[in-house]
């Protein structure tokens, strides 16, 4: 069993409910214990940092200080939280004066941070600690034949924390493949989804989303998989608007990687929050279950490991 402090982030409890549910659901079968950070607060996200950098770092630092008490790596399933917390952590580790200032603020809440915590994204934990090989040995049934476009988005790989190629990342591809599914060629895998510009520049963002969907569809993907709740929301919730705007008819479910792993582990779709996905993942589920039924009736359950 591997132990981690868990920072769900706000999305995993709201717009990206499926992310939070599935991350927790797959933890046990994969021998991870995600201990939720008690009394965690907003990571600060990008907007705060753009307006008031020092204050935003202090806000993030409160979470780091809480995690340091327990001493475990701080794991988050959200790409935005990952970048924000990592950035704050690096600033604090590299600039003692800033650390002193922040600690002055934290002292009010009886907290102190020393810079000893590692901030990690759940994708890298799955890839480096749990490893694709071990996941492959634990899945209940392979997702063979399922064609998936692995979508990293920007914040998982940029700025560069040295974990994956910033232009051509591959960790997510390997995770998809270890489940038996096929990761299709997806040249836009690390391209911007538009982020929060959906609120202010919708037209522009619809164009970005459209090219992502188009590229995934052209490469034969049956669905997209992403770790990022912001990407997931944009691609999932705005898909119908893209269709209306460009007279297209995309119907590509956008799953969280944790949901996909959960499906392969044999976890019930509802426990993975699949009912909260907007573009219905029904066809993908049918594909998986039909295959399993077929295999079962033919006495050849594809059990790995």
């Amino acid at each position: 069993m591997k132990y981690y402090s868990f920072f769900p982030g706000c999305s995993a409890e709201s717009t990206g409910l499926g992310l939070g549910l599935s991350a927790e659901a797959i933890a046990e079968p994969l021998d991870m214990e995600l201990v939720e950070l008690e009394d965690w607060n907003c990571c600060g996200s990008t907007p705060y940092g753009s307006l008031a950098e020092e204050e935003s770092i202090a806000v993030a630092a409160r979470n780091l200080a809480l995690a340091e008490k327990r001493g475990l790596d701080l794991v988050t399933p959200c790409s935005s939280c990952y970048v924000t917390l990592s950035k704050a952590n690096r600033h604090l580790q590299e600039h003692p004066t800033l650390l002193a200032q922040v600690n002055e603020a934290l002292a009010v809440a009886d907290l102190e941070y020393h810079g000893s915590i590692r901030v990690r994204h759940i994708v890298y934990v799955l890839y480096n600690d749990i490893t694709p090989e071990s996941i492959a040995s634990k899945i209940k049934w392979g997702l063979d034949g399922l064609k998936i476009a692995p979508y990293y988005g920007c914040q998982l790989v940029r700025p560069d924390y040295g974990l994956d190629d910033t232009e051509f990342p591959h960790t997510l591809d390997r995770l998809v493949e270890c489940l038996g599914a096929e990761a299709v060629d997806f040249p836009l895998k690390a391209r911007c989804c538009g982020g929060s510009l959906t609120l202010s520049e919708e037209d522009r963002v619809l164009g970005l989303i459209r090219s992502l969907l188009q590229s995934a569809a052209e490469n034969g993907a049956q669905c997209l998989v992403t770790p990022c709740p912001l990407c997931q929301t944009n691609l999932d919730a705005y898909q119908s608007r893209v269709n209306a705007r460009f007279k297209t008819s995309y119907k590509l479910p956008v799953l969280f990687i944790t949901q996909l792993i959960g499906l392969a582990l044999g976890i019930e779709a509802k426990s993975l929050g699949m009912n909260t996905n907007i573009v219905s993942p029904r066809e993908v589920l049918d594909y998986i279950y039909n295959r399993i039924n077929y295999m079962t009736t033919h006495q050849k359950v594809d059990k790995r490991g």
């Binding site: 190629d165 232009e167 051509f168 060629d185 040249p187 836009l188 090219s211 188009q214 590229s215």
Partner: protein, 664 residues
């Protein structure tokens, strides 16, 4: 004889004196036991500097000398010669390296001075125990081995062979010619590469003093300067070279088609094939991995053999009986006095730069592929066409692919700017396409190069300063549809731009070939940080290596263009010829000595000796060192379990004294 030691501290201009207080070090050395005189001087290696040492030896009766200056690899021979000229045995000398080991790596002057003192004290204590040694001379074998048959190897081999000396020219490919044989034109004069290379290849193939060993690889090198023994594996071609006339009939009959390496996989060759039209030797060979008969033989079946038998009612098979499916690899041993390593380069594989789409997007090609496409003997007969056969309307050339990029190679590959501009010229000559050169900086440094750059500018090629971020086929506008779009920052305008084109040529850099490590180990050549072979001195000894008798030529030492390669090849030939005409070479006097009283005859030392210099005396049951073969590496000293071997000039007494000196 009571030691009278002279200590000479060099300032090396400000190289040492800038960080080390040389006067203070000299004062300190003057107080050490056995030191008769200690001086500091601006440049010890200069004539007046050497004269100073000689004068002191004569006038003060010095019998030991310590010079504290640079690395012994730089000037030990200089100072040994100087004291020899003053009448001392050259081994009564010790060098303290206070430049590379102290001043160049220190900032704090006080600490640096202390460290310099420690090194000087160590040298003084050591030289106290030095013994006179006699250096020996050995004869030089006048034969030379040239490894690699590209333009560098060919040029060096021809020059040496013309002087009347024998050369073994080894190439692992079935033909000599190297990369230059694949090029179309050469910058800046636009000579046809084959036209200037082929006569030299033919000459090398027919020269009475050159033994051509193609499709062969060096397997083992032993011996030392002047007397190397080299094992070479001649791979089976399954063709009797004496009988093959190169008529090519067998090639026409062969039913197997595989990608042609020479054409960069852009066209196909047969399983029995001639590497290219002007190949030297102009003979065929069989590729055992694809030949139906040879593959069948492995399974005990007799299939195909059409090249031998001919086709019923059609072309007849090989008339001279040159095809020999039974042929085996052959290992030969040759003896040579020196070796010229000219193993060339490998083109950077742009597939790893995913965002440029090589291997993923059609019509994104490498520079070497473009050389073949534009070559009239190439797969498209010199027509610049897209994968669908149509002529491109616009072509982007991306410079510095894999070069000047910290993620891949930090160095500049030195040829890409020029060959890219050559491409621009050839495209304008062959088509009406627009040409865009994406560059970081234009480096046109050679003779006639800047003039060539100006010519290309005048021809109307568009130069865009900015390294593209991406080549994509995902269109954002109608004009971009069906095109390759280059996304880049135009750094002269300061704007992000997109440019739709039909073809993208990646001007890939040069990198060391895949087997560079193995070759380096075999010939005992070090490599620099960029992975290429390291020359003895970057400025003053650019073709020699740290191993005596092994020389470098061409791109295996670093990326370079043809003129520089040829110049370096001729320099390497001159080095080899200088050795040959001297006839003798002085070898290290420091050799291992076995104390026969202590030797138990276990022969461990015999097994560890890399120079096969140790033999076993069956009668006395002890091991002996052949001093002519011993290089003084010391491996046997460490390997001897009975402490029976000592190394002259590296005795326990000397090394312990040196350590004591450094520590007190």
């Amino acid at each position: 004889m009571e030691p009278r030691i002279g200590v000479f501290i060099c300032h090396c201009g400000s190289n040492i004196a800038g960080t080390v207080d040389c006067e203070e070090v000299a004062r300190f050395a003057g107080g050490l036991e056995g030191v008769a005189v200690a001086r500091d001087y601006k440049f010890m290696c200069s004539d007046p500097g050497q004269e100073l040492i000689k004068k002191d030896i004569r006038e003060l009766g010095l019998n030991r000398v310590v010079v504290a200056s640079c690395s012994p690899t730089m000037h030990e021979p200089t100072f040994r010669r100087a004291i020899q000229e003053a009448g001392l045995n050259p081994y009564f000398f010790e060098m303290a390296n206070i430049r590379e080991h102290v001043s160049w790596v220190s900032v704090d002057k006080l600490k640096a001075t202390e460290r310099a003192k420690a090194l000087v004290a160590a040298a003084v204590r050591r030289v106290y125990y030095h013994q006179p040694l006699e250096s020996r001379e050995v004869d030089i074998n006048p034969n030379t081995l040239v490894v690699g048959g590209g333009i560098a190897g060919i040029q060096a081999a021809l020059k040496i062979a013309d002087s009347g000396n024998k050369v073994y020219l080894v190439d692992k490919n079935p033909s000599i010619g190297g990369h230059m044989a694949q090029l179309d034109k050469t910058f800046p004069t636009l000579d046809c590469s084959a036209c200037i290379l082929t006569p030299k290849m033919t000459l090398a193939g027919s020269h009475p003093n050159i033994e051509l060993l193609t499709y062969s690889e060096v397997e083992e090198v032993s011996g030392y300067v002047g007397n190397f023994k080299v094992k070479i594996r001649k791979r089976a071609r399954y063709i009797d070279l004496g009988k093959c006339t190169g008529c090519g009939r067998c090639v026409d009959i062969c039913p197997v088609k595989v990608p042609d390496e020479f054409e960069q996989g852009l066209s196909q060759r047969k399983a029995i094939y001639k590497p290219f039209a002007q190949a030297v030797p102009n003979k065929v060979l069989i590729d055992p991995e694809n030949c139906l008969h040879l593959k069948g033989l492995a399974k005990g079946k007799d299939v195909c053999r059409l090249c031998q038998k001919g086709v019923k009612g059609g072309i007849i098979g090989c008339e001279t009986g040159a095809i020999d499916f039974e042929q085996q690899d052959e290992v030969i041993e040759v003896e040579v006095g020196s070796v010229i390593v000219a193993t060339g380069f490998k083109l950077f594989d742009p597939g790893v730069i995913y965002q440029y789409g090589y291997g993923r997007l059609e019509n994104v090609i490498t520079s070497l592929e473009f050389e073949r496409i534009v070559n009239s003997a190439g797969p498209t007969s010199g027509h610049i066409v897209l994968k669908d056969g149509s002529e491109p309307q616009s072509i982007a050339l991306i410079h510095c692919v894999g070069s000047r990029d910290e993620q891949y190679h930090e160095y500049c590959s030195r040829v890409c700017c020029m060959y890219s501009m050559k491409f621009a010229h050839l495209i304008k000559e062959h088509t009406s396409a627009e040409v865009y050169e994406f560059y970081i900086d234009i480096r046109s440094f050679g003779k006639g190069y800047e003039e060539f750059y100006n010519r290309i500018l005048e021809e109307g090629t568009v130069f865009i300063r900015g390294k593209p971020a991406e080549v994509t086929n995902i269109a954002e506008t109608r004009e971009e549809e069906g095109k390759l779009i280059v996304q880049f920052e135009d750094t002269l305008v300061g704007k992000q731009r997109r440019l739709p084109v039909d073809m993208v040529v990646l001007s890939c850099g040069l990198e060391p070939p895949g087997d560079v490590e193995a070759v380096g180990r075999m010939f005992n050549i070090s490599r620099s940080a960029d992975g290429f072979f390291l020359e003895k001195h970057p400025k003053l000894d650019p073709v020699a290596t740290m191993t005596d008798g092994i020389f470098l030529a061409g791109c295996c030492q670093g990326p370079k263009d043809i003129p520089d390669t040829v110049a370096q090849a001729l320099a390497a030939a001159a080095e080899a010829l200088a050795m040959i005409s001297r006839g003798k070479v002085e070898v290290e006097a420091a050799t291992a000595i076995i104390n026969e009283k202590l030797c138990t005859g276990c022969q461990l030392c015999k097994n560890v000796c890399p120079y096969s210099a140790i033999s076993f005396d069956e009668e006395k049951k002890v091991c002996r060192v052949n001093e002519a073969l011993c290089k003084g590496c010391g491996a046997c000293v460490g390997g001897c379990p009975g402490d029976a071997i000592s190394l002259s000039h590296y005795t326990n007494e000397q090394i312990l004294a040196q350590m004591e000196g450094a520590l007190t």
